[in-house]
Each structure stands twice: as structure tokens, then as C-alpha cells.
């Protein structure tokens, strides 16, 4: 047989992933936890548990989702270059039966990886950072057994390995390279001329060479051509020579070494050392800032319009929460904009705590106290720049996704504005990333670069190739930034940069910012505003510098228009918004005076003379005659019809009957007012009036609207008291716990202590633990299911529970019978064939990349994601009686790697535990294949039947 499988490297007293972690310094561990915060919550109790968790599929997926393209290439290259894993086909054969490469040849040092990637000199430092980052976040580890001795030594070249579990996540063909199979051809490649009948690669005939070239860059699997064809002959010859390997009846594969040789020793076509340089139009800085200022003023104006509109007429909530389409349209019309941007304004106002649900029945949206203060606080209230800062800070922390408004969710229901299900935890992080891309766009002398959505997406795709953000979200965020004036003409404005500086550090560090409590933004802004008005608030100052100067004048013209040749001051704006209709806005404001607008001003209590005087004062030119005429004429007609409210009226046929009533002091409490000689109005209601008049001796009668006399008893009107509307409700949601940075150092210290303790534990203790567990399980009815409530996870004090891809509330608020280890099977995902291994992780949120899925999707039908996450969140503390599933898996993986034996505790069909010594071969798709040396048989067990695993240490009893 020409092909044999390469053997695992002879396990030099093997060093494991866990050993690598254990030997890391405390600082390194803290850095690891910082880079992968999910490892620390809830706190692992031992370092082994930490290692297990770090190699769990969920955590690995999550870490990879944040990995940039270069690091990913490094990982793939390391995986491709690493010595082969134990392969199950190789069952039963003793280790070392075939010629293995000398250990020296398989040292995967950074230099080897760099050469394989083809990293240029310029990018060497970037490459170094990528390797360091991968090591730091435990995606790579150092398998050099000598490492601990020289770990800190200068010039130490680590022997890189990918973290266990990473191979599964990255799929069977890392970088599109085939299996590491040894064949005649690979041997020939190692030592030219050593294998008879194998031509050197360069001398492979053209037809056959084409076959190899087609497979060279992956996928390395080809379908066998039809028998008898020339192509088939070529393939058959290649198989004979060992350039191809038959994988099954219909397919051939390109062995890894051949693939590498065909690629010229490289693992990738070219190193993705730097993000793609985004291309965009160049825009002058002044233009960007001017555009941003215009947008900023516009958003402030729109919010003001919204608050004014809802002060007058609060908008009702839909039953499912959110605002109806009709109300959205109404607001959009008032703002003179389209629905999409109006929806954003509403979301923004709500996020900033300026409007809120009033909690009445039925509930409505009304401006909050801070909203009213924001709108027209006592002079000197916040100016435009300060108001804008409130909005933009609220936006920076917002988790809302307004771009989804109007689309349908998976149940087909329309997503409404302000609906509660528009929150996505990843929004702040993506926002920071998008702004970061804008901020780092090349800046050619004084000109900014305006980027399109696709340009931004390209860069983001480089930084997180495993979790490319949906274009729609990027587009939505860019649109929001433009509406807010964080960008101008598509480039980040000075004010936007100031904002990014403010939020940048926390969000880009990778940690999900703690949920921003409603109203927090304006509270903090109010604090800032109170103490620091005029002092250095960089965001406010940056915008203020960009705003055009205020103008106090309005040019009044004969065609009843007025023009403010610049940005009107607040007082002027207020005057004009009352007395005139706006026709055009922008650098200047054009208004038109109409009878309606003047009436509006008169309704606010202004008199014609006041208004004219005020306008004259602000106009550099004399008041045009038509305007003066309009104001006077409107004032003349204003109030020609007067309306008041009365509780009841009193009419008589003769004026004499009513004479003296309104002046009678005994009837003063009725509030009588004479409207006409024979009509009086009263403040009191009809019945009270009737009774009072009867008491005075007037024979009055009650009448209906039609004039018929009514029976007093039946006529007594029910006195409905209007429900008082507490118009101003502060956003009353309970603020989430204030986050503080988790104390990773303390955690590492406790891990270290536990680790030392564990290592001291002797085997007796281990057995005792196993026995105790058996006893407990037998007592529980030999069932795995444990209905007694689990002791609550005890996170370190002050450590927040960050929400994962789904709300943690899901798991903690609905306690359900907990399955100890049985969720392992689910955790592993549905059974997948090796070919689709890399995609199985995504099955949780169909169609969307990990991390950007719709949490509700996971909640609904796909148990994989929910269970996978639940596993992470409801991590049980390690200790007596339980073993973390991931721990078990980690031990199994190590054993597979080393070809070592382990003690596995299996649960039979009847639920009875059974302890067997096995040599695990393969762990895949929720199944473990292992050899039982005692019975000399191979067995396959579902992972959920494994109750526990212990390393086979000398002396462990059978």
C-alpha cells in the first residue's frame, strides 16, 4: 500500500494545553481573561477548568469571532503545519509504527509560520503582534516542553500549537489543505529521488499537473472522473504515485505536503497583514465639519419638534410595545422628514431618556422631565452644542437597531418603532468599530476621506472575518452617524472624533459595555452641564467650533418672507417658530408669515404691537408695509369668535328674570357670567345651579340639548373625573447594576491557589470523589437527571454578568430541571460529517454570522445556540460531585492527542454507571470513538452518556 497515515508525534512526555496555561505568569492569565472575558464568568474554580473552558467550542467560536484576518491566517497556518493529530483510521496500531518525522522538523516556530504565510519584512512586526495576541488569548500555545524553563528567555522560539478544539472549529481542511497523510510522493518531496517511480513535482505531465493545480488552493477534495477517461487515467496515476489519496470510492484528496509544495511552501496566497485600504472620495475638513454642524442642528431641531409634538399630543403605545405606523408618520410629517429618519429620531429621544412611556392606562409616550429641561430649560439653558452632546452620548451607548424598523421578524410581525425587541447587545461594539474604521481612514493633507458602506464593511470583514457584520447594520449605523452629524459628507467630523475618543477605549477593548441605563446619558450630561458649562467638554467644544455663528437679525421683505442669513439665536428661533412658517432651512433660514402663523403667535399671548415691535427690533430694514398690514389685520380678526368653558347655562325668555343674579353675592360660588341679555353661563354644573336657583326661589327647569324639560333624577349626570395624566414621567426603568471592571487579578490568584491544592490531592482523593459521586447518583434513583436545585453559581463579588449572544436572563430567570452532563450532546451540536464541521457552529442562527444573529431566533427554535450559551452561563462550580462537561472533553482531547488512556465513566441504557479504561480515538459530532484495550474492541458512545473522565494516572484503580 502506497499510502499510510502519519503517526502522531511520539508524545514526548507530553505537554498539554492546560500545562501551558498553568505555566503562564499571573499577568499573562489576567491578560487572557481580559481578552476573553467569557472565560471568567462565572469564575472557573481551577486552571484545568479554565483550560477546558478555553478549548470549548463556544468559547473558541467567540474568540475567533473577534479575531482579525491575519491572526486567523496564523492560526490556520499553525494548524496546517502542526504534526498530525491521531486519526481514527489508524485504529489499533501502536504508536510509532510508521516512520515519523523527527521532532525537530515539526517545530512550528513563528519563523516557520511567517515563512509559510509569506509575510514581508514590513509586516513582520504586525505578524509578531498577531502571534503574540493569539498566544495571549490562548488560541495558540507553546508545546515546547522546555518552554517553562526558558519561557521568558530572550530568543526562545515557541513551538506553536493551536488550542484544542480549534481544529474542529476551523474545519478539517485548514487553509484549504488536505489531510496530513504520508505517501510515496510526500516522502519524495522530503527527500528527492528516494522513491522510485515518483517523478519530481516539476516533471508531472501537464494533464496530471492541471489536476493538481485545480486542487492546490483548496478545497483539496476532488471527484473522481469517469472510469476510462483520460482524466481518470491521470488521476489514477497520481494516486499511484501518491500525489493524490483516495478518500472514498468517489473522491480523491490532495495530501497536505503535496498541497504545500504546490503552493510553494505557502499556506495562503498572500498574507492578510493589513486591513484593506479603504477607498473613498476626499473631502475638505471644513466641508466635513460644516456638514456635520448642519446635521447636528437638524437633529437637535427634530428632537425639539418631537418633544413639542408629544407635549401637545402624547402618542399611544401599541399593545405589543412601540409606536404605531400612523403615529410615526405624523411625527415624520411634523419633522418634515421621511419615516426612516423620524424613526431614528424617536429611538434616539427614547435612548437619551427625553421621552418615555408614561405608564398610564392606556400608556402613551410623553416627554420626560429631562426632555422638557432639554427642550427649554431655564435660561441660560443648554445651547445647541450641549443638547447635541446629550443626544450623541446616548447614541454611543445605545443598543437599538432602528434600521430594522419596518422589517418583519421571523414570525412575520412588523417591527415597530420603539418596540422592545429592537435591542441587540452587539450594537455598541459594532458602532465603535465602524467609527474606528472611519477614524483610521487615511487622511490626505487636510482632506478627510468619505467612505461608503462597502468600504467600511471590507475593513470590518478583515478585522473579524469569522463574524462579518451584516451590511445592513453597518449601513444603518453609518446612516445614523450622518443624521447625527458624527460624520459629515461621509467622513468622521471633528466632533465625531471627540466622541470616539470618549467611547473608544472601553468599547474597542472587546468587553461589552455594561447596559446603559435609560436616562443615564442625560443625567451624566446634566452633571457635566451643571459643573462644566463653557469649560472643556471636548465633544461640546468640537461641535461648537464647527457651528456657524449665531445671527440675531431677520431680513423682512415685502412678499411676507423673512430671511435669517445664518444660524438664528435661540430667542430669534423661538420668535420665528411662533410667528412664521419655515420654508427653507440650512445655512440660512427662510420663513413666511401667513395669517395662520401670525394667529399662532397671537394665541401665545403676543399682541400685534408686541410682535411688530419685536420684529422691527430684529430687522435691519424697516418693516415692510404688507407685513405690518398682515399682522394688524390678523390681530383685528383674532378673537372675533370667543370660546370659553362653562359648567352649565341659564337662559330665560325675559332679561328681567335674570336681573341681579350675576351680582348676587349668595350665588357667587356658581360663577355666573352674563353672555347675552337673556343668557348666563355658570361654572357650576347644571344640577347644582338648578338646586341653588330653586333655593333662591327661582322656578328653574333642567333642559336637554333639544330643549325638552328633563326629570331631575334621571338627568343627574355621572361625574366622571378625568384621570390625571402625570405628563412628565421620568424613565422609570430599573437601572442595571453599575458595572465596574471585573477583578481578574483576584480571580487568577484564587485559580492558582486551587490549582496547587488540586495537584496535592492524591489519587485516593480522586477515587473517593468518584465513589462519592456514584453513591450520590445511585441515591438519586440512578438517574442522571438531578432535579434538586443546583447551588447558584457564585460569581465573584462585583463581577457583572455580561449578556452573551442571548440575554442571560433566559437561563437564570426560568429555572428548569438542570441536566448535568446530558447537555453535552447538545453542546456538541448536531452530528455533522467531517466535511461540514466548520459550519456546524453557525447552525444556531441560520444564515447570519455568529454574533450577529437575532437572539429571538435562538430563543425560538434552535436548541443548539440556546443550549450552548446556557452551558456557558450556567456553569456549575467545579467541586465535589460534579465535573464540568468541558473538563471531561478537554481530558478526552488531550488523551486523543497523546494517544493516552483515560478512565471514562459511562452511563448505560438503564442509567447504571460503568467505569472503563479507554483510549479515545476521535471526538466528533457528539460522539466519542475509543478503544477499550481490556476487551480489545472499539466502541462509539454518545458524549452525553459520559458522566466523567479521569486521566489514567499510574495507580488509578480500575
Amino acid at each position: 500500500m502506497a499510502t499510510t497515515l502519519r503517526d502522531p508525534a511520539p508524545a514526548a512526555p507530553t505537554r498539554h494545553f492546560a500545562d501551558d496555561l498553568r505555566e503562564r505568569s499571573d499577568e499573562a492569565l489576567v491578560a487572557l481573561l481580559r481578552a476573553r472575558p467569557d472565560l471568567a464568568t462565572p469564575s472557573p474554580s481551577t486552571l484545568r477548568s479554565l483550560a477546558a473552558r478555553a478549548s470549548s467550542r463556544t468559547s473558541t467560536e467567540r474568540a475567533l469571532a473577534r479575531t482579525d484576518a491575519l491572526t486567523l491566517q496564523v492560526l490556520e497556518a499553525v494548524l496546517a503545519l502542526s504534526p498530525a493529530r491521531a486519526v481514527p483510521e489508524h485504529r489499533g496500531a501502536p504508536p510509532g509504527a510508521h516512520a515519523a518525522r523527527p521532532p525537530a522538523a515539526v517545530r512550528v516556530t513563528p519563523a516557520v509560520v511567517a515563512r509559510a504565510l509569506g509575510v514581508s519584512e514590513d509586516d513582520a512586526s504586525l505578524f509578531g503582534e498577531a502571534v503574540a495576541h493569539a498566544l495571549e488569548s490562548a488560541l495558540l500555545w507553546d508545546a515546547d516542553p522546555g518552554a517553562p524553563l526558558r519561557a521568558t528567555g530572550v530568543g526562545h522560539e515557541p513551538d506553536l500549537r493551536t488550542a484544542p478544539g480549534l481544529d474542529e472549529v476551523l474545519g478539517p481542511y485548514p487553509a484549504g489543505l488536505g489531510p496530513d497523510t504520508e505517501t510515496a510522493a510526500t516522502r519524495a518531496l522530503d527527500a528527492p529521488g528516494s522513491q522510485a517511480g515518483v517523478p519530481p513535482l516539476d516533471e508531472v505531465p501537464a494533464g496530471a499537473r492541471a489536476v493538481l493545480d485545480a486542487l492546490a488552493w483548496g478545497p483539496p477534495v476532488g471527484v473522481l472522473p469517469a472510469p476510462g477517461s483520460r482524466a481518470r487515467d491521470a488521476v489514477d496515476r497520481l494516486v499511484r504515485q501518491g500525489y493524490l489519496v483516495r478518500s472514498d470510492a468517489r473522491h480523491v484528496m490532495l495530501p497536505r505536503a503535496v498541497g504545500l509544495a504546490l503552493r510553494g511552501g505557502h499556506t495562503h496566497r498572500e498574507p492578510a497583514a493589513r486591513p484593506p485600504r479603504p477607498q473613498g472620495r476626499s473631502v475638505a475638513r471644513t466641508t466635513v465639519d460644516a456638514e456635520s454642524a448642519t446635521a447636528a442642528l437638524e437633529i437637535v431641531r427634530r428632537i425639539a419638534v418631537l418633544l413639542a409634538t408629544w407635549t401637545d399630543a402624547p402618542a399611544p403605545l401599541l399593545r405589543a410595545g412601540g409606536l404605531g405606523v400612523r403615529d410615526l408618520r405624523r411625527v415624520a410629517a411634523a419633522m418634515e422628514t421621511d419615516e426612516a429618519s423620524a424613526a431614528f429620531v424617536l429611538e434616539l429621544a427614547s435612548t437619551a431618556g427625553l421621552v418615555a412611556d408614561d405608564g398610564e392606562a392606556p400608556p402613551s409616550y410623553v416627554p420626560t422631565v429631562s426632555g422638557v429641561e432639554w427642550l427649554d430649560g431655564a435660561l441660560p439653558g443648554p445651547d445647541d452644542a450641549e443638547r447635541w452632546a446629550v443626544l450623541v452620548r446616548a447614541w454611543a451607548a445605545s443598543r437599538r437597531t432602528p434600521w430594522q424598523i419596518g422589517t418583519r421578524d421571523e414570525r412575520g410581525a412588523l417591527r415597530a418603532t420603539l418596540a422592545p425587541d429592537l435591542n441587540r447587545p452587539w450594537v455598541p461594539r459594532l458602532r465603535a468599530q465602524v467609527l474606528e474604521v472611519l477614524a483610521t481612514a487615511p487622511d490626505a493633507d487636510g482632506a478627510a476621506i468619505s467612505l461608503t458602506t462597502s468600504a467600511v464593511s471590507d475593513v470590518l470583514a478583515w478585522s473579524t472575518p469569522r463574524a462579518v457584520p451584516p451590511e445592513r447594520a453597518v449601513d444603518g449605523l453609518l446612516m445614523e452617524a450622518a443624521w447625527l452629524g458624527v460624520t459629515g459628507a461621509g467622513a468622521l467630523s471633528t466632533a465625531g472624533r471627540a466622541l470616539l475618543d470618549e467611547i473608544g477605549t472601553s468599547a474597542t477593548a472587546g468587553a461589552d459595555p455594561a447596559p446603559e441605563p435609560r436616562g443615564a446619558a442625560d443625567r451624566s450630561a446634566a452633571e457635566r452641564g451643571a459643573g462644566a458649562r463653557g469649560t472643556a467638554d471636548p465633544v461640546v467644544a468640537a461641535l461648537r467650533a464647527a457651528l456657524p455663528p449665531e445671527v440675531e437679525e431677520v431680513l423682512l421683505q415685502g412678499d411676507l418672507t423673512g430671511i435669517v442669513p445664518g444660524r438664528p439665536s435661540r430667542e430669534l428661533a423661538r420668535l420665528l417658530s411662533r410667528a412664521a412658517d419655515s420654508e427653507s432651512r440650512g445655512a440660512a433660514t427662510t420663513v413666511r408669515f401667513t395669517a395662520e402663523s401670525v394667529t399662532r403667535s397671537l394665541d401665545h399671548g403676543t399682541t400685534a404691537d408686541d410682535l411688530l415691535a419685536e420684529l422691527a427690533r430684529r430687522s435691519p430694514v424697516p418693516l415692510p408695509q404688507p407685513l405690518e398690514y398682515l399682522v394688524r389685520d390678523t390681530a383685528r380678526r383674532h378673537g372675533a369668535v370667543r370660546i370659553g368653558s362653562a359648567g352649565s347655562y341659564l337662559r330665560a325668555a325675559e332679561p328681567t328674570v335674570l336681573a341681579g343674579l350675576e351680582n348676587d353675592p349668595t350665588l357667587a360660588h356658581l360663577g355666573l357670567v352674563r353672555l347675552a341679555p337673556t343668557v348666563l353661563a355658570a361654572a357650576a354644573d347644571a344640577v347644582e345651579l338648578h338646586e341653588a336657583l330653586r333655593a333662591r326661589g327661582l322656578v328653574s327647569a333642567l333642559e336637554s340639548p333639544g330643549g325638552q324639560v328633563l326629570d331631575l333624577r334621571r338627568a343627574r349626570p355621572g361625574r366622571a373625573v378625568p384621570a390625571p395624566r402625570s405628563a412628565l414621567v421620568v424613565g422609570g426603568r430599573v437601572a442595571a447594576a453599575v458595572s465596574s471592571a471585573p477583578d481578574y487579578a483576584a480571580l487568577v490568584a484564587s485559580l492558582r491557589a486551587a490549582d496547587v491544592a488540586t495537584r496535592d490531592t492524591d489519587n485516593t482523593a480522586s477515587r473517593a470523589r468518584a465513589e462519592a459521586r456514584d453513591a450520590a447518583r445511585a441515591a438519586a434513583g440512578a438517574l442522571l437527571r438531578d432535579d434538586t436545585p443546583e447551588p447558584a453559581p457564585a460569581p465573584a463579588a462585583g463581577t457583572p454578568t455580561p449578556s452573551a449572544e442571548a440575554e442571560p436572563a433566559e437561563a437564570s430567570q426560568h429555572p428548569e430541571p438542570r441536566y448535568h452532563l446530558t447537555d453535552l450532546g447538545v453542546h456538541q451540536g448536531p452530528q455533522v460529517s467531517p466535511g461540514s464541521g466548520s459550519t456546524s457552529a453557525r447552525s444556531g442562527s441560520a444564515g447570519s454570522p455568529p454574533g450577529f444573529g437575532d437572539p429571538s431566533a435562538g430563543r425560538g427554535g434552535a436548541p443548539t445556540a440556546a443550549a450552548g450559551v446556557g452551558h456557558d452561563v450556567t456553569d456549575a462550580p467545579d467541586g465535589e460531585g460534579t465535573q464540568h462537561p468541558a473538563d471531561a472533553l478537554a481530558i478526552l482531547r488531550d488523551a486523543i492527542r497523546d494517544g493516552a488512556h483515560v478512565w471514562v465513566e459511562l452511563v448505560g441504557r438503564t442509567g447504571s454507571p460503568e467505569r472503563r479504561r479507554l483510549r479515545p480515538l476521535r471526538l466528533d459530532g457528539g460522539r466519542l470513538r475509543a478503544v477499550d484495550p481490556a476487551r480489545d474492541a472499539e466502541l462509539t458512545v454518545a458524549v452525553h452518556r459520559i458522566a466523567g473522565v479521569d486521566p489514567d494516572r499510574p495507580g488509578t484503580p480500575a
Binding site: 431680513l555 418672507t561 442669513p565 445655512a587 415692510p624
Partner: protein, 561 residues
């Protein structure tokens, strides 16, 4: 940030500060591409429209020039999106061109394959184009040249018409160096075209076809004559009505080498076809048994030039006929491109882009049209009429308010204040006009008056024989009454802006003594009359004519002041 006179708004309006030292410069710079929307006393408003930008492209301006102009004169940074949009819009013009191919005849060529594909995919172009010659060229049926242009404008890809024109039948026409006196025996005096008229003719001729916009009384007829002289071919002139046709004829005889025999009138009364033929819209749009019976006129001769008077009034059927006349030069004349029916784009596609435009106030400042004083007189209705008005059906309200009896007295007062002026009283409702005519003892001209009688009365008015004339809307257009210096409008066609402009135009011919013209609009206060009046006045107010408002009761005082 310069201290320019221009403020560019993101809604594509441009505000021009008139009193700024560089205002004149800025106005000249933006005139080619921005349309004047309002010209009140301090800040003029211009608007950038696709049609305006395409007009500019047609006149040879490019986007860079437009953008540079905006940036140069703008006081504040110009909105970026606007600049992008300007460049984008302007680049759309001329991507498609109508050209003459020596082999295939009329073809539509594109400089951009995608544009041609997009246009051809549209349902609207189906049937207008023929075989596709290659990626960039498609055959156009010569008869569909106009329709295609219309459709392309609607699709947002206006085609540049480079297919040229037929030369037409030659017929020498020259401008005469002198103009004979009006009265018999009066000596001829030399004349020449005013500078702006020459510019207008040149602009038109250079562009091939298009529209010249000049205020009423600024001598549009002479621009027409100038264009005819330049063309030197047989000419078809389309005018609004018969009286106007006769005035055209008279003016052409006086100002050009044409004789009465060379000019034919094609109207309801006469059907002459001569080298120069003047036809009315009405006769062309007359239908008999569902067909236009006079269409053959359009093909009666090989016309080298077609002149459309008062383009803003072109009725829809004429548009359709014009669509078939695309191979001939077309000149549109108007005082305003504002159409109450919003068909400006058809004027653009079928007659041609705007070739010349001058603000009224400019021409007035040059002394070519009389300065005018516009006054709105507000009349308070007596109680009884207000009651009737308040309870009337909505459709009757305007008529009731417009023909309020009190207006009679107001007119009387105004007439009394202008004893030495030639006065026109203009109105909408015949019974009201009849009453006024009786009351003022002035002759009445309505649609029912015979053409001969009308001409007699107009001639008498011109000569000063009669000093007052009551006219209905027949006198809205194209009636040359140079000596009228006071117009009193008692009622109008609801809120028609162009009617108001036309009526003002009646009194705007320059007066020999340079006196100011007066335009009075009498409206009933607190009624729809007042609202319509406000709407009508918008165009003039935008052109810089500020209306004073005077209460009827204060009329004497106001005039004395």
C-alpha cells in the same frame, strides 16, 4: 468661509443678498443655471432644478463651473450633497444624443452603455426606437423624435438634440432700419433692437431651438422678428388669439422688410397660407369629428422657423403637434415659464431649453419697461353682503366676493384720482363689467365683441380718443396698448399667477413721459377673493413688485400722501 452674497441651502435654493457689493457679479454668474424664484427687495431666491441645470448644460456650462460659482460666492460652506447632486444631475444631460447618421438617418447614441440599456428597458420608449445598431446606438423613427425627447426627460436622461434642422424654404427677411410713425404723415424714425433683445436672438440662434423669457412689454415681438431675420426662411407663428395675430402682423410690417402680402393669417376668420403665416392656437386645436382639421397647415410649407408666442399657454394638443415638428427650428416666447398646469418639462423637451432670461426689475431699471406701483385695495363688505357670503355655497363664494357691489365705488374713486391717465378696468365677470362700463361710461370689450370693433376701440384708446376701457380677459394677452398707465383689476381667474403678470404687463410699456404705471387690484376683505389675490400676487411679488395694501376707506388719504 468667504463673505459672499450667496447662501446655498441644502434644499437647493440659493439666497442672494441684493445689497451686497458683489451681488451683481453673483447674479450674472448664477443666472445661467439657477431659476429666479422670488425677487423681493432684499434677498432674491433662486432655485436649482434639473431642468435649470440641463438648460445650463445645453448652453455649454459644465458642472465644474456651476460648482465653482456656488463655492466662490457662497457665504457658508456649500452643502456637500448638493454639489454632488449638481454634478450628478448635470452629467445626465448629453449622455444620450440624437444625431443624424449618414446611413441610418436619425439615431440615438449614448456615451454610456448602461444608460442606453436603462432607457431602452423602460416601457415608455417602446415603439419609439427601432433596431439597435450596436452597444451605443439605436435607430430612432424620425417621426418620434419629439416623443422620444419627452420620454427621455421624464426618465431623467434628457437627450441632446444634435440632429440638426431642415433648412426650410428660403424667404429673405430683414429688419428695416426705420419704423414708420403710427399716425399717417408722422415721419419714420430710425430704430434698432435693444441690447437684451439682440442677446436673446443670439442666444436662441446659437442654441438652435429654445425659449426666450422676457417681461411683458419688453418687446418679445421684436425678438421674434429678429429671429426671423436671422433665419431668412418661411416662418409659422403661433399666437393666442386673432387680435394678437393682427398685432404681430402690424409689428412685422413696421419692423421688417415684409409686406402685408407676404404675411398670411390663419384663424377662424381667414385661412391664408403665405411665406409668413400667423395662426392662432384656437384654430389649430379645433376638432371636427374628433380630428384636428387644420393640421395640414403645419406641413403646408417647408417652414424654416416656428415661433410660439406665450409658450406658457400652449395647449396640450399643440404640444403633441409640436412633437412632430422637431426637425424645424422652434422659438418660444414668454414672460414667465411658470405654468399653472406644471408642464414646464414639456416646454423643455419639445420647444427647447431656456435660451435667454432677464429679470423684470433689471429691464425696468434700464428704462425699457415702465416702473409700476402695485396697490391692493381692500374693501370691507357691508354687513348684508357678508351675510350672503357667509352662507353661500363654496363654489359661489369667489364670484360673490369678486363682484361685490362696493367695488364699483372704489373703481370710481381710483378713476377720479387719475384724471389724466389712460385707464383699463379688467375683470372676469361679464355682468360686473357691464355694470362698470355703464357706470363709468366707458366702452366694454368682451369675447363677444367683434374683432373689427375691438380693433377700433383699441385704436381709439391708443390715440387717446377714449381714455377708459373696460375689458374682460380677452385683453389679458398680447394686446399692445402702450399708453395705458393705470389698470384696475376687479376680479380674476381665481388664483392665476400668470394672469396677474399679464395684466400688469398691459401697463408696463414705457411711457413717453416716463411716468409710473399704476396697477390696482380691488379685493373684498376676509373672503376667498383676498386669498386668491394673495396667490396671484406671488409671481409679481417674487419678481420684485411689492404690493401696498390700502383699505378702501383710506384710499383718498393714501393717494394724497
Amino acid at each position: 468661509m468667504t463673505d459672499g452674497p450667496l447662501i446655498v441651502q441644502s434644499d437647493k435654493t440659493l439666497l442672494l443678498e441684493v445689497d451686497h457689493p458683489r451681488a451683481g457679479e453673483a447674479r450674472r454668474a448664477i443666472a445661467p443655471f439657477a431659476e429666479l424664484e422670488r425677487a423681493p427687495e432684499h434677498m432674491h431666491t433662486y432655485r436649482l432644478t434639473p431642468l435649470g441645470l440641463w438648460n445650463a448644460r445645453a448652453a455649454g456650462h459644465d458642472a465644474e463651473q456651476v460648482v465653482d460659482t456656488l463655492i466662490e460666492f457662497s457665504r457658508y460652506p456649500v452643502p456637500h450633497a448638493l454639489l454632488v447632486d449638481v454634478a450628478e444631475t448635470m452629467s445626465r444631460y448629453g449622455r444620450l444624443q440624437l444625431a443624424s447618421d449618414p446611413v441610418h438617418g436619425l439615431v440615438l447614441t449614448a456615451t454610456d452603455r448602461a444608460v442606453l440599456a436603462e432607457v431602452l428597458k423602460s416601457k415608455r420608449t417602446a415603439g419609439l426606437v427601432g433596431a439597435r445598431l450596436d452597444d451605443l446606438t439605436v435607430v430612432v423613427h424620425p417621426s418620434e423624435r419629439g416623443h422620444l425627447k419627452q420620454v427621455l426627460v421624464k426618465l431623467g436622461w434628457p437627450a441632446e438634440d444634435l440632429a440638426g434642422y431642415v433648412d426650410g424654404e428660403k424667404h429673405p427677411i430683414e429688419l428695416s432700419p426705420t419704423v414708420p410713425g403710427r399716425a399717417p404723415g408722422e415721419p419714420s424714425r430710425p430704430w434698432e433692437m435693444r441690447p437684451y433683445q439682440e442677446h436673446a436672438v443670439d442666444g436662441f440662434w446659437h442654441g438652435g431651438s429654445g425659449v426666450v423669457v422676457l417681461p411683458c412689454g419688453a418687446g418679445k415681438t421684436i425678438v421674434g422678428a429678429g429671429a426671423m431675420a436671422k433665419s431668412g426662411t418661411t416662418t409659422l407663428i403661433l399666437v393666442t388669439n386673432t387680435v394678437s395675430a393682427r398685432q404681430w402682423r402690424d409689428e412685422l410690417v413696421r419692423r421688417t422688410s415684409l409686406t402685408e402680402e407676404e404675411i398670411g393669417e390663419y384663424s377662424g376668420a381667414r385661412k391664408e397660407i403665405k411665406p409668413v403665416t400667423i395662426a392662432t392656437y384656437q384654430v389649430l386645436t379645433t376638432k371636427r369629428k374628433g380630428v384636428y382639421t387644420h393640421l395640414e397647415l403645419l406641413d403646408a410649407r417647408d417652414w424654416g422657423l416656428v415661433v410660439y408666442d406665450e409658450v406658457h399657454l400652449l395647449p396640450a394638443p399643440i404640444f403633441r403637434m409640436t412633437a412632430d415638428l422637431q426637425a424645424r427650428r422652434r422659438l418660444g416666447l414668454t414672460a414667465t415659464l411658470v405654468r399653472e398646469d406644471g408642464r414646464e418639462d414639456e416646454v423643455f423637451s419639445l420647444i427647447g431649453p431656456k435660451r435667454y432670461d432677464a429679470p423684470w426689475k433689471d429691464i425696468e431699471a434700464q428704462g425699457y419697461i415702465a416702473p409700476a406701483d402695485c396697490v391692493e385695495v381692500r374693501l370691507t363688505l357691508p354687513e348684508s353682503e357678508r351675510m350672503v357670503y357667509a352662507t353661500a355655497e363654496p363654489e359661489d363664494k369667489y364670484r360673490l366676493a369678486a363682484s361685490a357691489t362696493g367695488k364699483k365705488r372704489v373703481v370710481e374713486q381710483i378713476v377720479a384720482q387719475h384724471p389724466d391717465d389712460q385707464i383699463l378696468v379688467i375683470g372676469q365677470y361679464l355682468d360686473q363689467l357691464q355694470e362698470l362700463s355703464d357706470h363709468l361710461d366707458a366702452p366694454l370689450i368682451t369675447g363677444a365683441t367683434t374683432v373689427r370693433e375691438r380693433q377700433r376701440l383699441f385704436e381709439a384708446f391708443r390715440s387717446g380718443e377714449i381714455s377708459r376701457l373696460v375689458v374682460s380677459k380677452v385683453a389679458n394677452f398680447s394686446i399692445d396698448l402702450p399708453e395705458a398707465s393705470v389698470a384696475i383689476q376687479v376680479s380674476g381667474s381665481f388664483g392665476s399667477r400668470q394672469e396677474e403678470a399679464q395684466r400688469l404687463g398691459r401697463v408696463m410699456r414705457p411711457k413717453q413721459d416716463g411716468r409710473t404705471a399704476h396697477f390696482y387690484a380691488v379685493v373684498a376683505r376676509d373672503t376667498v377673493d383676498q386669498d386668491f389675490a394673495a396667490h396671484r400676487q406671488r409671481f409679481l411679488a417674487e419678481q420684485g413688485y411689492a404690493y401696498r395694501i390700502v383699505d378702501a376707506e383710506d384710499l383718498d388719504a393714501a393717494e394724497a400722501a
